[in-house]
């Protein structure tokens, strides 16, 4: 029997293709195994650092999610109606549900509280740079620690998480929103102009900044501070350089805070992965302190992002400082492929065919109990078709239980020597 013929025809016809909505994909075989392996690795790392799991609902009241989401994220939410007419929405991230949980249910429990999560989130955007409308995130939130030590733990954990995934030469770009907010205080700009400044900085557009300061007539040290901001990034010496451009206490405090953080990061030994960038102004409606993004060679987009959001829990209950990050797993999968990290195995180790007898079943069960992945193949009529199946499904071992027993391993077959146990012959991959 030719398995290909069997797989691709149905009553003599190719089965019809069933369309999937734009923005969702089937994950199976290699892709599914890879996603779960990555998730398992991260969950182990998060647990090792004392984080416990939170499994938020997939959907909840749109109003609740709106309370925590900025206008940009609100626009991207999938909304639908409950039977009683209330508007529901799919979770666009896991941070908002975590803030709701802590603010509304766990507010009187001891702090700090540490949560990790992993699973799909949903955003109505054009699929771009490896992200579908349903995509997977894993991340952590540390709630109740206002100090730089909390920022440091989260950054060190981000480094450890990326390391655990086998990724090399990654960089975490670290910003501090308070430095920019201090600059905005000093410039005293109307909201529209402040947004123009934020947008120019976000694009690292030095010419645009020139144009803005000339238009506003900003002079002296303030002018220098704005024009130098896009250059205040790099691995070392940035903090010292930035001291020359502080215009008020808020900007100075932001630098002090970064200085304290630097010492924590030093203690963790992760400074070599960090790049400081004081012009990092992404997610301003959300973050209140540090912000960061993780990049790896081979991937043109960030695969990790996070920061401090001390205002979020307070929208749902008594305020609590909080800091955390999320890793986009779909991008991790792509980055690992780009970096040539060997793919996760997804097939069983062994497929067994032939007569089902008590002694064979017993051996299969013993292998399974020993951690091997063993599948039965009931419909093979002879050992050749079992080998064909094993080869097509990338299963390294196959055993044909007849008299004599035949063993197949990656293209070679041999009869089991008399007196041998076949379960001793099927080795690792």
């Amino acid at each position: 029997m030719d398995w290909r013929k069997h797989m691709t025809t149905y009553n003599g016809h190719r089965p019809p293709g069933w369309p999937l909505p734009h923005g969702v994909i089937d994950r199976f075989w290699q892709e599914a195994a890879h996603l779960h392996a990555v998730m398992d690795t991260l969950r182990d790392v998060f647990r090792a650092w004392g984080y416990t799991e939170f499994i938020p609902p997939t959907f909840e009241y749109a109003d609740t999610l709106n309370t925590g989401a900025g206008p940009f994220l609100q626009e991207q939410m999938y909304r639908f109606f409950d039977r009683d007419g209330k508007t529901l929405a799919l979770r666009p991230d896991m941070t908002i549900p975590t803030a709701r949980l802590v603010g509304s249910k766990l507010f009187d429990q001891p702090f700090p509280q540490r949560f990790f999560y992993s699973g799909p989130v949903f955003r109505y955007t054009e699929p771009r740079a490896g992200l579908q409308r349903e995509f997977y995130q894993a991340g952590v939130e540390l709630i109740g620690v206002e100090r730089a030590a909390g920022d440091g733990e989260i950054l060190a954990l981000a480094v450890e998480a990326l390391r655990s995934l086998g990724l090399r030469e990654f960089r975490i770009v670290l910003g501090q929103m308070e430095f920019f907010r201090g600059l905005l205080d000093a410039l005293n700009l109307p909201p529209k102009e402040a947004e123009a400044l934020r947008s120019a900085l976000d694009r690292k557009s030095a010419p645009e900044l020139q144009r803005l300061v000339s238009r506003w007539g900003v002079k002296g040290r303030a002018r220098e501070a704005v024009l130098q901001l896009p250059y205040l990034h790099g691995a070392g010496g940035v903090l010292k350089q930035a001291q020359n451009y502080t215009l008020n206490a808020r900007m100075a405090a932001a630098l002090d805070r970064l200085h304290a953080l630097e010492q924590v990061l030093d203690a963790y030994g992760v400074t070599s992965h960090m790049v400081l960038d004081l012009a990092e102004v992404r997610g301003m409606e959300y973050y209140t302190g540090i912000t960061f993004e993780g990049f790896v060679p081979g991937l043109g987009v960030a695969l990790l992002s996070g920061g401090r959001y001390d205002d979020l829990v307070g929208k749902f209950g008594p305020p609590q400082p909080a800091v955390g990050f999320a890793i986009t797993l779909d991008r991790v999968l792509r980055a690992r492929e780009e970096q040539g990290i060997p793919p996760t195995s997804w097939t069983p180790h062994l497929v067994v065919g032939g007569a089902i007898r008590a002694d064979t079943v017993h051996r299969v069960q013993r292998l399974r109990a020993g951690g091997r992945h063993v599948a039965w193949h009931y419909t093979a009529d002879d050992r050749q078709s079992l080998w064909t199946y094993a080869r097509a499904m990338h299963i390294p071992w196959a055993v044909w239980c007849d008299d004599p027993v035949w063993v197949w391993h990656e293209g070679r077959e041999f009869p089991l020597p008399a007196g041998d146990e076949w379960s001793d012959h099927v080795g690792e991959r």
Partner: protein, 219 residues
């Protein structure tokens, strides 16, 4: 994107010659690599090469990181809303994205708001729509990929939104420019990840381009 090599995407066509001149002057491109149909050209330095692409594809390559840098017009960049850095404006490719109307119907623009559904022919549907929406006008956008000036002549549209360099094409087709939507010129764009991961090499390239431009202005 390989971690050590630098790939620069260039927009073919309008900006190409001046972009090549600039890169050659900065010592990044060799002067004799002209013409030909190759889409990937070696650079003057071993770790740099160039990718020639349709203008609208340049920001796509850079956003996805298959090119680290790109040279493209602001018109193309703003039309697509790409997530890239724009560290440098380049002093060529100056033009305007403008609204133009037939000469004999100049007042047509001013009565646009009285027209519940004006027809706008353009190669820039996103920017055109954004411009009119911001003014409370809901136009019907007719996306064309060339010879937009034909629109009003053949009765396809009431106005056009198109690039104007000297204004000659408009005049020859009996059109007048009535509003400027965007002042455009060439811009150097950078991938956000490359900007961090290849920081030293990219800032070296940016500084060399800047030096060519300042030398050029002072001499």
């Amino acid at each position: 994107m390989s971690p050590t090599n630098i790939r620069i995407a260039l927009a073919k066509g309008r900006l190409e010659a001046e972009a090549r001149d600039l890169l050659t002057a900065a010592g990044l491109m060799s002067p004799h690599d002209r013409g030909g149909r190759a889409l990937i050209l070696p650079g003057a330095e071993p770790d740099v090469d160039f990718l020639l692409a349709k203008p609208a594809d340049v920001p796509v390559y850079v956003e996805h990181g298959v090119a680290d840098l790109g040279i493209v017009g602001l018109d193309v960049l703003r039309e697509g809303n790409y997530d890239v850095y724009e560290p440098m404006l380049l002093p060529f490719g100056h033009c305007r994205l403008s609204v133009a109307v037939p000469q004999d119907r100049v007042d047509a623009y001013h009565s646009l708001r009285l027209n519940p559904n004006p027809r706008v022919a353009t190669k820039y549907p996103h920017l055109a729509l954004q411009y009119f929406h911001a003014r409370g006008v809901s136009p019907e956008i007719i996306p064309l990929s060339g010879s937009v000036e034909l629109g009003p002549l053949v009765g396809l549209s009431d106005v056009i939104v198109d690039l104007v360099q000297t204004g000659r094409t408009l005049r020859e087709n009996g059109l007048v420019e009535v509003r400027v939507i965007l002042e455009s010129q060439a811009v150097l764009i950078a991938n956000r990840a490359s900007y961090r991961l290849k920081e030293a090499r990219l800032s070296d390239i940016i500084h060399r381009l800047q030096r060519v431009l300042t030398d050029h202005h002072t001499t």
